[in-house]
C-alpha cells in the first residue's frame, strides 16, 4: 500500500538526528529527467506508457513479419518455402508475439498513460513497481525472441497443449523460452494490474466517484481485475511446464499417469479472460472517441459500465468452449455452450449503445472516429461468428479450422487493434503535442479496412470448406487455393497500410519540427479530464488537482445552459484548461532499481535453460536489487523539486546527474495544488503518489 508521504524539509527524525542521502551507503536516486538515460530510470506513468507503446509497435513489426512469412508459404498449395519445423515456429511465435507482446502491452500503454490522468492523479500508486512492470515485459519479450538465435523459436502453438510441449516431443529449447519468457511478461502484467487497481481505488480526484469515471478507465479497471485473477493461473501452468521440461517433473507426462487435459483447463481458464483483457481496453478507447466526434455524451453510461463488468464476470465461466471437441461429455459442453451464448448479450448492449451515441449526433469523420466505427463494424462480425462457435455441435465442425482463425482476427485485429490504432490517433496530440496527418490517417484506415477484410474474410470460407489451422502446407484439389491467395494478397495490403502509418508518424513529426503548431490542450473538443491539462502533458499532470462534479467533467466546464436553457459553449478550452506550468510539485524520484531487478529475471531465465550457475548470478542480482530498492532513500534531500516540472516535455530544463540544486527542501515551497484528498484522510494530494 502506498504511504502518502508528506516531506518536510529535509526529512526530520524525531531524535533530531540528520538524515543522509545514502542511508545504506548505496546510490543516490537518479535525478535527470531528460536525455536517453532518464528513460531508463523514469517512474513517470506517462513515459512508461509511451515506452509500452513503442515496444509494442516494435514487437508488432516482428509479429507482422512472421505473419507475412506464414501467408507467403500458404499463398499457393504444396509450397515448401520453408520446412514444416520452421513454419510451426513461425505460427507459434506469431501468436505469442501478437497476444502477449503486442495487444496486451498496447492496452497497458493506454491504461498506464490515461488511467491516472482520467482520474486526476499525479501518477500511479506504486511508480517504481510500474517501471518494474515495463522492464519485465520488455525483458521477457526480448528473451522470448532471442530464441530465434539460440536454437529456434517455440514450436508448440501459443496454446502449447501438453504433452506435445514435453521434452520428448519438442526437444529443442523453443518451448523453454516460451515458458520462461511468458512467465516474466506475466509478472509484468500481474504487478502492473495490482498497481492500477490500487490507483483507481485510492487515487481518484476529489469528487470523482466510481460512477463518474470515464468509460475507458472503467474498462481498464475491469481489465486489471481480470489480469489480477487470470495471470496467476497461467503462471502456475507455466511453472508446471518449466519443471516438466527442465527438471524432469511429471505434471504432463501421460506415461507417468498425468492427464493432458489439466494443461488445457489451466490454459483456457487464463486464456478466455485473456480475450477480454485484450478487447475491453479497446472498447474503452472507442467509448471515448465516439462521443467526442458525435458531440454527444456516451449513451447509457451505466449500461456501458455494467455490461463491461458483466463481461468481466461471465468471462470466467466460458473457458471450456475452447474444448468442445476434447471429450468433456455432453453435459459440460451444454453448460459452457449456454454460458458462452449469453456473454454475447452484454457485448451486444455495448455495440447498440455506441450506435445510439452516434444517433442524432453531428458526426465528424476524423481518423480516430473512422477507426472507432471500424471497430464497431468489424468486431460485430467477430462477435457473430463467435455465437456460431457457442453452438457446440456447429463448433465441432469449426474448431481448429480457419473459420476460427477468421473469428479471432475479427475480434483481436478488427476489434482490439482497430480500437488501439484509433486511440493512437486520438491521444497522439495529447502525448506528443503534435497531430498526426488526418489525410494520411484516412489512407491508413481505408487500406487497413480493405486489407484486413481481404485477409481474414476469406478465412471464414476456407474454414467452412474444411481447411484446418496450423498446416504448414495444403494439398491441391481441396478448393483452398484461390482464397488462400486472396488472403496472402490481403496480408500484404495490411503491410502497406502499416507502412503508411509509419510514414505518417515520421512525416508528421518532421513537419512539426519544421513548423511547430501548438495543438492546445484540447484539439478535438473532448470531454474527459486528460484534455484539461497542457499538451504534451507536463510531468506533474495537473497544476491543480481538479475537483470533479460530473461525468465528462471537462466538457461540463466548457458547456452549459444559456439564458434560454439551451446548452451552448460558455468557455473556450484554453480558458478552462490548466497551463501546465506549475512549479515545486513534489513527484516521485526516478530509480535505478526497477530496471536492475527486471534485468535479473531474464538472466535467471537464460541460466535455467543453459547453465544453473548463470541463474545463480541472476538470483544474486535480483536479491541485490530488492535490497537496493528497499533501502533507497525515499527521496534525495539534496535535490530540489522544481526540475521535475517542465511545461514542455521536450524542452525540459534538463538537469545533469550531479545537479547543483539550490537545496530547496522537498515540498517546502508554497503548494500550488492544495486540494483535499479523495479518501477523506485529510492528507493533501499534491504529492500525487508516493513511492511504494
Amino acid at each position: 500500500m502506498a504511504i502518502v508521504e508528506r516531506p518536510t524539509a529535509p526529512l526530520e527524525l524525531t531524535t533530531g538526528a540528520t538524515t543522509t542521502a545514502r542511508p545504506m551507503g548505496g546510490f543516490t536516486r537518479p535525478q535527470s529527467t531528460s536525455g536517453w538515460k532518464s528513460w531508463l530510470t523514469t517512474v513517470d506513468h506517462k513515459r512508461i506508457g509511451v515506452m509500452y507503446g513503442g515496444a509494442a509497435m516494435f514487437f508488432f513489426f516482428i509479429g507482422g513479419v512472421e505473419a507475412l512469412f506464414i501467408r507467403l508459404q500458404l499463398a499457393a498449395p504444396e509450397q515448401k518455402l520453408y520446412s514444416a519445423d520452421l513454419y510451426n515456429q513461425l505460427f507459434t511465435m506469431h501468436g505469442v508475439t501478437m497476444i502477449f507482446l503486442v495487444v496486451i502491452p498496447l492496452g497497458a500503454c493506454f491504461m498506464n498513460y490515461l488511467m491516472p490522468l482520467q482520474i486526476g492523479a499525479r501518477d500511479v500508486a506504486f511508480p517504481r513497481l510500474n517501471a518494474f512492470s515495463f522492464w519485465c515485459f520488455l525483458g521477457g519479450g526480448l528473451m522470448l525472441n532471442t530464441s530465434w538465435f539460440l536454437g529456434g523459436g517455440a514450436n508448440g502453438g501459443w496454446f502449447a497443449y501438453a504433452p506435445n510441449t514435453g521434452v520428448a516431443f519438442s526437444p529443442g529449447h523453443g518451448m523453454d523460452f516460451y515458458a520462461i519468457g511468458l512467465q516474466i511478461t506475466g509478472i509484468a502484467s500481474l504487478v502492473g494490474a495490482i498497481n492500477l487497481v490500487v490507483t483507481v481505488l485510492n487515487m481518484r480526484a476529489p469528487g470523482m466517484t466510481l460512477m463518474k469515471m470515464p468509460v475507458f478507465t472503467w474498462m481498464g479497471f475491469v481489465t486489471q481485475l481480470l489480469l489480477v485473477f487470470a495471470m496467476p493461473v497461467i503462471s502456475v501452468a507455466l511453472f508446471l511446464l518449466t519443471f516438466d521440461r527442465l527438471f524432469d517433473a511429471n505434471f504432463f507426462k501421460v506415461s507417468q499417469g498425468a492427464d493432458p487435459l489439466l494443461w488445457e483447463h489451466l490454459f483456457w481458464i487464463f486464456g478466455h479472460p485473456e480475450v477480454y483483457i485484450l478487447i475491453l481496453p479497446a472498447f474503452g478507447v472507442v467509448s471515448e472517441i465516439i462521443p467526442v466526434f458525435s458531440r454527444k455524451p456516451i449513451f447509457g453510461y451505466p449500461f456501458m459500465v455494467f455490461s463491461g463488468i458483466a463481461i468481466g464476470f461471465m468471462g470466467w465461466g466460458v473457458w471450456a468452449h475452447h474444448m468442445f471437441a476434447s471429450g468433456l461429455g455432453p453435459l459440460s459442453v451444454a453448460a459452457f455452450s449456454m454460458s458462452t451464448m449469453f456473454i454475447a448479450v452484454p457485448t451486444g448492449v455495448k455495440i447498440l449503445n455506441w450506435l445510439a451515441t452516434m444517433w442524432g449526433g453531428k458526426l465528424r469523420f476524423t481518423t480516430p472516429m473512422l477507426f472507432a466505427i471500424g471497430l464497431v463494424a468489424m468486431f460485430t462480425i467477430g462477435g457473430l461468428s463467435g455465437v456460431t462457435h457457442a453452438v457446440a455441435p456447429a463448433d465441432t465442425q469449426q474448431t481448429d479450422t480457419y473459420y476460427i482463425v477468421a473469428h479471432f482476427h475479427y475480434v483481436i485485429f478488427g476489434g482490439a487493434l482497430m480500437g488501439f490504432i484509433g486511440g493512437l490517433y486520438f491521444w497522439w496530440p495529447k502525448v506528443f503535442g503534435w497531430l498526426l496527418s488526418d489525410k494520411m490517417g484516412k489512407w491508413h484506415f481505408w487500406t487497413l479496412l480493405v486489407g484486413f477484410n481481404l485477409t481474414f474474410g476469406p478465412m471464414h470460407i476456407l474454414g467452412l470448406q474444411g481447411m484446418p489451422r496450423r498446416m504448414h502446407t495444403y494439398a491441391k484439389g481441396y478448393g483452398f487455393d484461390f482464397w488462400n491467395m486472396v488472403a496472402t494478397i490481403g496480408a500484404f495490403v495490411i503491410a502497406v497500410s502499416m507502412t503508411i502509418f509509419a510514414a505518417n508518424v515520421l512525416l508528421s513529426w518532421r513537419k512539426h519540427r519544421r513548423h511547430p503548431v501548438a495543438v492546445g490542450p484540447d484539439p478535438w473538443d473532448a470531454r474527459s479530464l486528460e484534455w484539461m491539462t497542457a499538451s504534451p502533458v507536463p510531468a506533474h499532470n495537473y497544476d491543480e488537482v481538479p475537483t470533479v462534479s460530473h461525468l465528462d467533467e471537462f466538457w461540463t466546464r466548457k458547456y452549459g445552459e444559456d439564458a434560454t436553457g439551451k446548452v451552448v459553449r460558455l468557455h473556450t478550452s484554453e480558458e478552462v484548461a490548466q497551463k501546465g506550468d506549475a512549479t515545486d510539485v513534489h513527484l516521485p524520484s526516478p530509480s535505478y532499481w526497477p530496471l536492475v531487478a527486471a534485468l535479473a529475471l531474464p538472466i535467471v531465465g537464460y541460466g535455467m535453460i543453459f547453465n544453473l550457475g548463470l541463474a545463480a548470478v541472476g538470483g544474486v542480482l535480483l536479491v541485490a536489487a530488492i535490497y537496493g530498492w528497499a533501502y533507497e532513500p525515499a527521496d534525495d534531500p539534496e535535490a530540489h523539486h522544481a526540475h521535475l516540472v517542465h511545461g514542455n516535455g521536450e524542452s525540459g530544463d534538463g538537469h545533469g546527474d550531479g545537479d547543483t540544486g539550490d537545496g530547496d527542501g522537498a515540498g517546502s515551497g508554497p503548494e500550488p495544488a492544495a486540494v483535499g484528498a479523495p479518501s477523506g484522510s485529510g492528507e493533501s494530494e499534491e504529492e500525487g503518489s508516493s513511492d511504494d
Binding site: N88, G156, G157, Y161, P163, N164, V167, A168, P171, S255, G257, D259, P260, L261, K296, F299, G300, Y301, F303, G327, P330, S337, M338, M341, G348, V349, N353, L355, G360, G361, K362, R364, I373, A377, T380, I381, L384, V387, T388, A390, A392, A394, T396, Q397, T399, D400, T401, N453, G457, P458, H460, I461, L464, Q465, G466, M471, H472, G477, Y478, V568
Partner: protein, 391 residues
C-alpha cells in the same frame, strides 16, 4: 472523392458475405457444408439456422452503421455548425429492450443447440465399434472381430482408410498413443480429440457408399499438416467380404522380386511394421510398437494393398483413373501409383517431415516416422513388388 469513399464503405462491409456465398460452389471435398450422413446433416441444419440469425443481425448492425454515418454526419450546409445536437444521455426502456431481445434470440438458439447436442452425442449400443488410435502422424483402426470386447490378437488392425458399412451408425472409440490429435471427417460428423490416457466417443454414419476425406485437426507436432484420414463406406455385403479378407494372414510370396522383397521386409522393417504371416517372429523380437504413449510403431501392413492411400493418407496408392481427386474402392487394386511409392521408400523424411533421425541428447531416443533406410534401387523394386501382394 468523398462520395466515392462513401460508396466504397458498404462494399467493404458486405464483401465477405458475398464471397462466402459464392465460394460454396467450388469443389471442396472436405467441406463442412455438404453433409453426407444424418449426424453431420443435423449439425448443418443447426448451423444454417444460426447462420441466418447471424446474417440478420449482421445486416441490422452494418446497415445501421451505414445509416448513422450517412444521416448524422456533420453537414457542410449546416446553418449553425457550432450548435450542439440534442444531448441525450440514455434511455432506460431502450436499454432493457435491447438487453432482452438478444437474450430471447439466444435462448431460442440455445434450445436448438441443446436438442441437437444431446441427440448427436447419443451412443448407439447396437452399432459396430471401431477403436481409432492417433499417433504421429497416421491413424490406426482396430476392429473387435471376435467380439470379446478387447483389441488383441486375432482382431483386425488397419490404418489410414477406415472401412465401414454405409447407412448405419458406427461407434468410434478414439485414443492417442502420444500427443493430442483430433479425428475429423466433416461430411460424417464434427471432430473429436484423441487425448492420450482418455478414450473419447464419436459416432459416424454415412448415407451411401463412398470415400469421405478428413484430417487431423489438433496440432500434433512436426507433420501435423500431413496427418490425413479417409472413411471408405461400403455396402454391407462388400464390407463383410472386406472384413473376411482382413482377418486372413498375408501369404508369403514364393518367388521372384516379391519373395526377395518379403525377406527384405522381414529384416529391414520389423522394428516398426507388422505384416501378419510374413514377419510375426521378427516383429515380436524387434518391434518397439508395444510402447504406449510414445510413438515408435508404424501401420500394420498385413493388407496394405487393400488401402487407397499410404503414409498418413497423403499419397494415393493407386492411380485415380477418373481424376476426381479421390481413389475410390473400385480403383483400389487397379494401377499402382508407383512413382510416389518408390519415392517414399527412397527417402521418407524428404516426402513428409518426421523426427526420424536420432533425437538430440534430451529426447527419449524414440524415432517418430519413417527414417531413410538407405535402400538400393533394386531393393526398392523388390519391396514394391512385395507390398503389392499384400491384398
Amino acid at each position: 472523392m468523398r462520395t466515392r469513399r462513401r460508396r466504397l464503405a458498404p462494399l467493404a462491409l458486405v464483401m465477405p458475405l458475398v464471397l462466402l456465398v459464392s465460394a460454396c460452389a467450388s469443389h471442396a471435398p472436405q467441406t463442412t457444408l455438404e453433409p453426407k450422413g444424418p449426424i453431420a446433416r443435423s449439425i448443418d441444419n443447426l448451423f444454417n439456422g444460426v447462420f441466418l440469425v447471424a446474417v440478420f443481425v449482421f445486416f441490422f448492425v452494418e446497415l445501421g452503421v451505414l445509416f448513422l454515418v450517412l444521416k448524422f454526419r456533420q453537414r457542410k450546409d449546416d446553418p449553425d455548425p457550432d450548435a450542439l445536437p440534442p444531448q441525450t444521455h440514455g434511455n432506460f426502456r431502450l436499454e432493457i429492450t435491447w438487453t432482452i431481445i438478444p437474450a430471447v434470440m439466444l435462448a431460442l438458439v440455445g434450445f436448438a443447440t441443446l436438442t441437437t447436442l444431446f441427440n448427436i452425442n447419443r451412443r448407439d449400443e447396437n452399432a459396430m465399434t471401431v477403436r481409432v488410435t492417433g499417433q504421429q502422424w497416421f491413424w490406426e483402426y482396430s476392429y473387435d472381430t471376435n467380439g470379446d470386447g478387447k483389441y488383441t490378437d486375432g482382431d483386425v488392425i488397419t490404418a489410414n482408410d477406415l472401412v465401414i458399412p454405409a447407412g448405419q451408425d458406427i461407434n468410434l472409440d478414439i485414443r492417442s498413443n502420444d500427443v493430442i490429435h483430433s479425428y475429423w471427417i466433416p461430411a460424417l460428423n464434427g471432430k473429436k480429440d484423441a487425448v492420450p490416457g482418455h478414450q473419447t466417443p464419436l459416432r459416424i454414419n454415412a448415407d451411401k457408399p463412398g470415400v469421405y476425406v478428413g484430417q487431423c485437426t489438433e496440432f500434433c507436432g512436426l507433420s501435423h499438416g500431413y496427418m490425413r484420414q479417409r472413411v471408405v463406406a461400403m455396402s454391407q455385403g462388400d464390407f463383410d467380404a472386406w472384413l473376411d479378407n482382413q482377418k486372413k494372414d498375408a501369404e508369403m510370396p514364393s518367388s521372384g522380386d516379391a519373395a526377395a522383397g518379403a525377406k527384405l521386409f522381414a529384416t529391414q522393417c520389423s522394428g516398426c511394421h507388422l505384416a501378419k504371416g510374413i514377419n510375426d517372429a521378427e516383429f515380436a523380437k524387434q518391434g518397439h510398437g508395444k510402447d504406449f504413449l510414445v510413438s515408435g510403431n508404424a501401420p500394420d501392413l498385413t493388407h496394405f494393398a487393400t488401402r487407397g492411400v499410404f503414409a498418413g493418407s497423403i499419397f494415393d496408392l493407386w492411380q485415380d483413373t477418373d481424376h476426381d481427386g479421390v481413389v475410390e474402392a473400385d480403383e483400389i487394386g487397379g494401377t499402382l501409383n508407383r512413382g510416389d511409392l518408390e519415392a517414399w521408400l527412397r527417402d521418407p523424411p524428404a516426402r513428409k517431415p518426421m523426427d526420424a533421425p536420432a533425437l538430440p541428447e534430451r529426447g527419449q531416443g524414440k524415432i517418430r516416422g519413417m527414417p531413410d533406410l538407405g535402400l538400393q534401387e533394386e531393393q526398392i523394386d523388390q519391396l514394391v513388388a512385395f507390398l503389392q501382394t499384400l491384398d
